[in-house]
């Protein structure tokens, strides 16, 4: 099945050692996305970077070092993303959330 629609993409940037209620922040956000039924959410680990805290984050000693930059790409309709953003406001203490308008084609094998 192929559907095409206009959507919104969020890219959320923070650090791998950031936590929310004791849980890694990226897992917490991913769970929240699933709970809200967001269409697509993927977590990427960068190999080097710096951000709002001006710390240079490295993943060179991976897997020993957990201080790698994390980028999450989250994609769904404007309404669905609107449900998520208040949560991101409270969950991401230090980081960056960028939004862009996108056009999406979804391929699925649903009956």
């Amino acid at each position: 099945m192929k559907e095409q629609f206009t959507a919104r993409m969020l890219r959320v940037h923070f650090g791998e050692d950031d936590r929310w209620h004791g849980k890694p922040l990226h897992e917490a956000i991913l769970s929240k996305c699933m709970e809200l039924g967001i269409a697509e959410a993927v977590v990427f680990r960068g190999i080097e970077g710096y951000g709002s805290a001006s710390r240079i984050r490295h993943a060179t000693h991976w897997p020993l070092s957990k201080d790698a930059p994390i980028q999450m790409s989250i994609i769904d309709t404007v309404e669905q993303i609107g449900k998520l953003t208040p949560w991101l406001d409270s969950m991401v203490e230090e980081g960056l959330v960028a939004a862009s308008a996108v056009e999406v084609i979804r391929y699925s094998q649903k009956q």
Binding site: L30, A39, E40, V42, Y50, I56, A101, I105, Y107
Partner: protein, 247 residues
């Protein structure tokens, strides 16, 4: 490029422990000099010394001091030095900056003559689109990993470029939603391919995506290309033969 004749030698004295935005201060200063096009710079580490605070810092056998003196030296024309001085003073913080008149007898030559590899860089500027394709790492197309097949297909269709990213966690159209086991371990990776080209070329490639991707998400967004430069094929001929793409 440094010319023979009058020049200024600048010496900056720092303590090794000093940091700037989390990185060693000397490397921040070195980066600053490098990207501002200074002809050359050298960092040396002292074995002992003292500074304005009159604390003696030395490397002992049992204890390696992290506060050893560090010296950064570079030689440049007076105009260049003056253009850098403001920022250098800010960066050096409590460190000492010394300048002295010097004479360049013979400037250093770049080890390789700086002949450009390509006389012309193709430069596309302006509106383009970014196509991101989200699939699963286990997805296959004709027995090869789907993301590899997509990269080959994009190359064969002359798309300007593509980069493949492996996610560490994720779910989506390409993956059945496991409600009882929500976070699938990382070896069942999410893959994102990110390709940038003109809208027309990406649209022309879509029928191929239709054929190859059974489950997944394709996301288009508008981007501005600021720079696109590539090495022309003629210069590559000497180095490596181009392997044809097998389909």
């Amino acid at each position: 490029m440094l010319q023979p004749g009058k020049a200024v030698k600048v010496t900056i004295y720092l303590s090794d422990g000093a940091t700037h935005h989390g990185a060693p201060l000397y490397s921040s200063i070195l980066d600053f000099l490098f990207y501002r096009g200074v002809a050359g710079a050298t960092v040396t580490k002292g074995i002992a010394g003292f500074g304005a605070d009159h604390h003696m810092h030395a490397a002992h056998v049992v204890e390696i001091s992290d506060r050893l003196p560090i010296k950064i030296e570079f030689i440049e024309s007076r105009e260049k030095v003056e253009s850098l001085l403001g920022k250098l003073e800010e960066l050096a913080g409590s460190g000492l900056i010394e300048m002295q008149e010097t004479t360049v007898a013979k400037p250093a030559q770049p080890s390789k003559p700086n002949t450009p590899l390509t006389p012309e860089h193709l430069k596309i500027e302006g509106k383009a689109q970014m196509m991101r394709i989200f699939v699963s790492e286990e997805d296959r197309w004709k027995s090869k990993p789907l993301h590899e097949a997509l990269v080959e297909a994009m190359r064969a269709n002359d798309l300007a470029g593509v980069t493949v990213y492996r996610g560490i966690l994720g779910y989506g159209a390409h993956r059945r939603l496991h409600k009882d086991k929500p976070l699938v371990s990382s070896h069942h990776g999410s893959i994102m391919l990110s390709a940038i080209d003109t809208a027309d070329k990406l649209r022309a490639f879509l029928p191929i995506v239709d054929q190859m991707v059974a489950e997944g998400l394709v996301v288009f967004s508008d981007v501005d290309i600021v720079k696109y430069a590539y090495r022309a094929l003629e210069t590559e001929k000497e180095t490596a033969p181009i392997t044809p793409i097998q389909n």
